[in-house]
Symmetry: none
């Protein structure tokens, strides 16, 4: 089935779907023959929900493939992550919480050092302190050019995120960073007409930056590389007929959900409780909610088994607030696995629970990796989860007669 | 994911993968409600390995499709067998142990009988004895033509395998075999420039053969049909970054593994013990080993249940020698099923075991069809096995950020 065929099947229903993503949820046994983080965690609410749910394992991008958060999220949102690719420049920008819009052109920036002849002597400007970069970014923020807007945010040390916003921009642009010392920064150049116009704007920006930074040795110049923009992804409203909202604290997740057409809801605070409060507050206004929990992945990547278990248990205590809202469909899964013992994202399929009153319940009284591998959903591509959710929400018509 | 995307994810690691293929491993219950060959066999080592492995079922070419050894092997090696097709001519040649190389053009040959007017009276030369064909093949072996080499080997009775080796050959050639008696053998003709040149060479060869065989009634002429060559398949070194070796006794398996860029290792002898000895001897020099066991299929096709069970048990006693080498990843599966009760290859998915210290172990203490159907890998396309193996060998980078 392609998206054109899918769209013909979309019907309206007064139903609500909640997708709870615990980032990096999947794990591995802590010791040989032992239990995973999720299996170890005391999760009475999720276990009770599991009994009346369909369980399975979600495969973000196919067998053996470990994904980053960008492709992992595109997958659970319903898209083939190898078809819709998010480049590095766009990811950096999403990562520092810039509201990247379709059409924006993003790049990775460095402050660097040039000598009196204009040649680069240090591509990282001595890895200047992040606090100093804050001041220099303010200077760059003063640059104005007709018809476009620049958004610049410090990342860390000498690195910053760079965005041009405007009409008709192109992103097929050559790096200005020669990737070595001893020569001058390059002018960028565009590969197609839109990119040529954009290249001219970028070169004007860089010239002004050089002028403004002239006295700021060692950070007296900038380098830009990895120009690209967000892929054009079908929008939730158009594709699924869903008025969708995203609840997330970190920039990247806001960016990816905005990319598919979700409204990013304000969260007052940064805790999981704050996120659930945002869910409650906005409950009436949307029919799809994506709620993102970051800390499962953070502790998985840190190799902190106990903290990852604790976060899962904390989420479990919050789920009654979600159930109290009486959603028609609840999806609980992750965007990928992050086993604490591997201290990284991994390829292992992710536990998946789909609850609704229309589900053919498996009667398995546990939410965990091995329990899910016995579930009736089997191992499914993450991109198919939304189809099952939509069906359970009575939002998909019969195909054919 | 396509191969271009896959190649970008390949990273190096000092890890070794062993793929043990028991040909035609999958079976069916011997009596209604009974056990299969593998389930009946006493396999303490594989059962112990299973407990700490991920289990599943491998589908060589999709639901319902029984495959031959060629496509079955291409599939477990990581390729879609419907995309990379191996023709009959190439298969016959691989089957008699000719070292078919990329670029070689292969065909199926018959000795036939012609009358004094040159018309065919028997396309099979009275199904002459295989021993006689041996002598006649020697005569054909004397034919020399500039710039090319001919390799001819008897198959059985009147049939022989025919290979032309040289630069710039084409394989779009018409059969010389008219498939009926009463008319003369046809000249071959080429459909493109390279094939036209090749056709001229083939016609010269056939004319010389006719001259040399003139007094050898009833085998006084030859017919050639099914010209083709090996498909161009991505090479293991380039695709997976693997220095791969094949251990097999029979020609076809050597041919298929050479096709994907494996080095075919010498085996001193023809027993399974000899194959495991070759594995041990070459252990240091490669990072991927394919080891082929033929007899499971032979006895399956013969309908000899007890012998098939015995071979599986014999393999089980050899696996400790493999484990002693401490490979990072062990794959045990078959290229297809050959249930003894069907006396043929079948479409049934094949038991699959993937062991590594990074696997999410299923804890299932048995290696068998029904045990594997409960495994966490589910039913997967055989071509995906290598991706999971590569991930477990820490040879795949994360996709996206």
């Amino acid at each position: 089935m392609n998206f054109t065929q899918l769209k013909k099947l979309i019907i309206h229903a007064d139903t609500k779907i909640v997708m709870l993503i615990m980032d990096g949820l999947g794990g591995l046994p802590i010791e040989i023959g032992g239990k995973t983080e999720l299996e170890t965690a005391n999760t009475p609410t999720m276990d009770a929900l599991a009994e009346h749910s369909a369980l399975g394992l979600s495969s973000p991008a196919g067998p053996g493939i470990a994904v980053g958060s960008g492709p992992g999220h595109l997958a659970v949102f319903g898209f083939d992550p190898f078809e819709y690719e998010i480049g590095r420049g766009a990811l950096e920008v999403l990562g520092v919480d810039i509201d990247l819009l379709p059409g924006d052109v993003a790049a990775r920036g460095n402050f660097c050092t040039i000598n009196e002849r204009g040649n680069i002597t240090d591509r990282r400007a001595g890895r200047l302190a992040t606090t100093e970069a804050f001041e220099l970014v303010k200077i760059l923020g003063e640059i104005k050019l007709n018809g476009v807007e620049f958004i610049i945010k410090p990342i860390k040390e000498h690195r910053f995120a760079f965005v041009i916003r405007g009409k008709g921009l192109g992103s097929d642009l050559r790096d200005t960073d020669p990737l070595l010392n001893g020569i001058a920064p390059m002018q960028t150049a565009g590969l197609d007409d839109a990119s040529k116009r954009t290249a001219s704007i970028v070169n004007q920006f860089v010239n002004k930056a050089k002028f403004l930074l002239a006295g700021k040795y060692p950070a007296n110049m900038i380098l830009l590389r990895g120009f690209d923009r967000l892929p054009e992804v079908p929008q939730y409203k158009d594709l699924f007929g869903l008025n969708a909202a995203a609840i997330a604290v970190n920039g990247m997740y806001k960016g990816v959900s905005r990319l598919v057409g979700m409204s990013v809801l304000p969260v007052e605070g940064i805790t999981m409780e704050d996120e659930f409060a945002a869910l409650e507050k906005n409950w009436k206004d949307y029919d799809f909610f994506y709620l993102h929990i970051k800390q499962t992945d953070t502790h998985g990547e840190d190799g902190d088994v106990l903290k990852k278990i604790k976060v899962i248990e904390d989420v479990d205590t919050l789920i009654p607030r979600l159930i109290a809202l009486n959603p028609d469909v609840i999806i609980i899964t992750g965007d990928h696995s992050s086993p604490a013992c591997m201290k990284s994202h991994s390829w292992h399929p992710v536990p998946l629970l789909i609850y609704s009153k229309n589900v053919r319940e498996d009667g398995i009284k546990e939410f965990g990796e091995r329990a899910c591998s016995r579930g009736s959903l089997g191992i499914i591509p993450a991109k198919d989860i939304m189809l099952i959710a939509m069906a359970n929400a009575m939002r998909l018509a019969k195909y054919g007669a």
